[in-house]
């Protein structure tokens, strides 16, 4: 199993390398030049342009720039922003915890009710609760977070719950205020995840209850709660883990939109500003960080399979 984990981790590194290379090369061959976005006295004047390009090393051969960037990444240096000359790694480092906290809070707010509702509707299969759950989750999945966020902005008056009114505080400064301010964004962000987890858990449980294992456990005299806890839920977790990859992607994409509506200084907002200003160095840094988190979380999910489902471990041992 250790070799499997090692192999998977190496695979993640290879993909990460491909992603960084691909993004770097695409950005540098793209027709859009970051220099065009500068003040006109620089962008229109060939001499000033050349000077700017020289100062940022943009006039060096592509291979040299690429090697330089890769080397920098390994030592935690992501270059400097082309817009204001600030350190990219520093900016990403400041924005990342905010986004992670928001995502974590959203996952928490989504996960707990989803498990309860999913289980409840599976146990009451075909009854009113089940039907209502089905309708609610389909609708919840289809509500775009940015629209809900705008509706909340328009309808909620209390500035304590709105980070956009300049009320955002970092967790280190005031934990209570911080969580309070992030509550609405996290709810909006978690809604889609809540719907997906509920649906897949319900589906998994229904399938598990139709299986022979459950019938056998019941026949052997296990109580209903025991069956639910030890047989049915264990079987239902596997298909739920399968949607986790999609879910993590959805949360990461969602943070971009939600952070922008609520003006939360996270990674998503950083990236959007970077793209709007065509500040490539900063955008690239943001994308690299997002890709790294996404790949890492997916790796964790893959390893969780081994924990949750002993059959996959068996398969590894045999292979």
């Amino acid at each position: 199993m250790a070799t499997y984990i090692l192999r998977r981790a190496l695979g993640v590194l290879v993909v990460m390398f491909a992603v960084v290379s691909g993004m770097f090369l695409l950005l540098h061959v793209s027709p859009v030049s970051p220099v065009n976005q500068l003040a006109p006295q620089i962008a229109a004047d060939p001499v000033a342009r050349a000077a700017f390009e020289h100062a940022h090393g943009l006039d060096r051969p592509l291979v040299v720039q690429y090697g330089d960037y890769l080397g920098g990444l390994l030592t935690g240096d992501m270059g400097t922003s082309l817009y204001d000359g600030s350190d990219v790694a520093d900016q990403v480092g400041r924005a990342l915890p905010v986004s992670l906290e928001l995502g974590f809070l959203a996952a928490l707010l989504a996960g707990i009710p989803a498990v309860l509702l999913g289980t409840w509707s599976a146990l009451r299969q075909g009854r009113t609760v089940d039907h209502v759950t089905r309708v609610v989750t389909v609708v919840a999945m289809s509500l775009p977070g940015y629209w809900l966020a705008v509706l909340l902005l328009v309808s909620v008056d209390d500035p304590d719950y709105l980070p956009s009114a300049g009320g955002f505080v970092r967790f280190a400064e005031d934990p209570v205020r911080n969580v309070q301010v992030l509550l609405l964004p996290a709810l909006v962000l978690g809604l889609g995840a809540f719907a997906m987890v509920t649906r897949s858990l319900r589906g998994g449980l229904v399938e598990a209850y139709a299986s022979d294992h459950v019938a056998f456990a019941r026949a052997m005299g296990s109580s209903r709660t025991q069956v639910l806890r030890r047989v049915a839920l264990r079987g239902a977790v596997v298909p739920t883990l399968t949607v986790a990859g999609v879910l993590i992607g959805g949360l990461l994409s969602g943070t971009v939109l939600v952070e922008n509506v609520f003006q939360i200084p996270g990674l998503g907002q950083l990236m959007v500003t970077a793209f709007q200003r065509q500040d490539y160095q900063l955008a690239l840094g943001g994308c690299v960080a997002t890709a790294a988190i996404f790949l890492l979380l997916n790796l964790v999910v893959d390893l969780l399979y081994l924990v949750v489902d002993p059959r996959t471990r068996q398969g590894l041992a045999r292979a």
Binding site: G250, V272, F294
Partner: protein, 318 residues
């Protein structure tokens, strides 16, 4: 052409509650889009400042006094057009890549293509689309005589983001189909490979791919709205559902409830409709795959009574 109407009718009958609801919602979306375009100009200033919905302006007017129904309709058309283009592009390119990989299953080309797909999927889809938009810039692009306008640019970016999904689905289906008896038999008869792939295999690969297309439409409507919302999509004077919602958020008119609500509702109609259609399609596939009812619920007749044996095999081999 005699085959066509019969096929249609059979599809409709098996839509189920979810499917019918989805169809109705999508039709409603189209209705708003059509009626609104007939209603008036999306850019003309008809009132002074925002006005609540009335008989003359059913959706009210926006902060500049433009008719919101006309703007929503224009936006709904733009969104629909962009989404159809992007999903169409993704289906064509994704199927081509996936079938090539599936045909060369296990070969070097397969590995190369799938590694590429994996790399693209290392970024969450929406962020990848943002990246592609960043690559292309926000102005019109010129390739010699061909000018790629703004809408098409957004459509292409979203489409590129979908290619990996369709490539995966198409590859999986192709791998299964290539192992089927009919392919082996046709090969034995000396039918050229090109003909088998385009005449026989393609027909069997398309249904699962098109089933995903409905779900992709729902995501595309969402993504297009999101991009316009962030100001990375179609720029402001031209309405799309996304930048209408963004405008409503930016103007913060506390009492103008209709401004954010009504265009957003149309947006939700589209997403929900396509989601439900996709779900109905998936449900149908699942019912066809398992001959024996998997849930003890039992009630209702199975969606497709005659089970083609092939489908069962598919389920087992994947």
């Amino acid at each position: 052409m005699p085959e066509r109407p019969r096929l249609r009718a059979r599809h409709l009958r098996h839509l189920g509650v979810a499917g019918w609801t989805g169809l109705v919602l999508v039709l409603l979306y189209l209705l708003v889009a059509t009626v609104g375009r007939l209603h008036g100009s999306p850019t003309e200033l008809v009132t002074l400042g925002p006005e609540a919905p009335s008989a003359a302006h059913p959706f009210g007017t926006d902060h500049l006094g433009r008719d919101l129904l006309a703007r929503t309709a224009e936006g709904a058309w733009t969104s629909l057009w962009i989404c159809l283009t992007s999903v169409g592009f993704a289906v064509v390119v994704g199927t081509a890549i996936g079938m090539t990989a599936g045909y060369r299953y296990g070969g070097r080309l397969d590995t190369l293509l799938m590694r590429g797909v994996e790399t693209v999927q290392a970024l969450p889809q929406f962020i990848f689309v943002m990246f592609v938009i960043g690559l292309m810039g926000t102005g019109d692009m010129h390739f010699g005589p061909v000018t790629v306008g703004n809408g098409l640019r957004v459509a292409l970016a979203i489409g590129v983001g979908f290619v990996p999904y369709f490539a995966r689905v198409a590859r999986g289906a192709t791998v299964v189909e290539m192992r089927e008896d009919y392919v082996v038999n046709l090969r034995g008869l000396g039918v050229p490979a090109r003909e088998i792939v385009f005449r026989e295999v393609l027909v069997n690969v398309l249904p699962p791919v098109l089933g995903q297309a409905f779900l992709a439409m729902a995501i595309a409507v969402f993504a297009e709205g999101g991009l316009s919302f962030l100001g990375l999509g179609v720029p402001a004077p031209h309405p799309t559902l996304g930048n209408l919602v963004a405008d409503a958020g930016g103007q913060i008119l506390g009492d103008a409830w209709w401004y954010a609500t009504l265009p957003g509702t149309v947006l939700v109609l589209g997403i929900l409709g396509f989601n439900l259609l996709g779900e109905a399609y998936g449900e149908r596939d699942r019912n066809r795959g398992t001959r024996f009812a998997r849930s003890p619920r039992g009630g209702g007749t199975p969606a497709v009574p005659a089970v083609p044996p092939k489908a069962t095999v598919t389920e087992e081999t994947t």
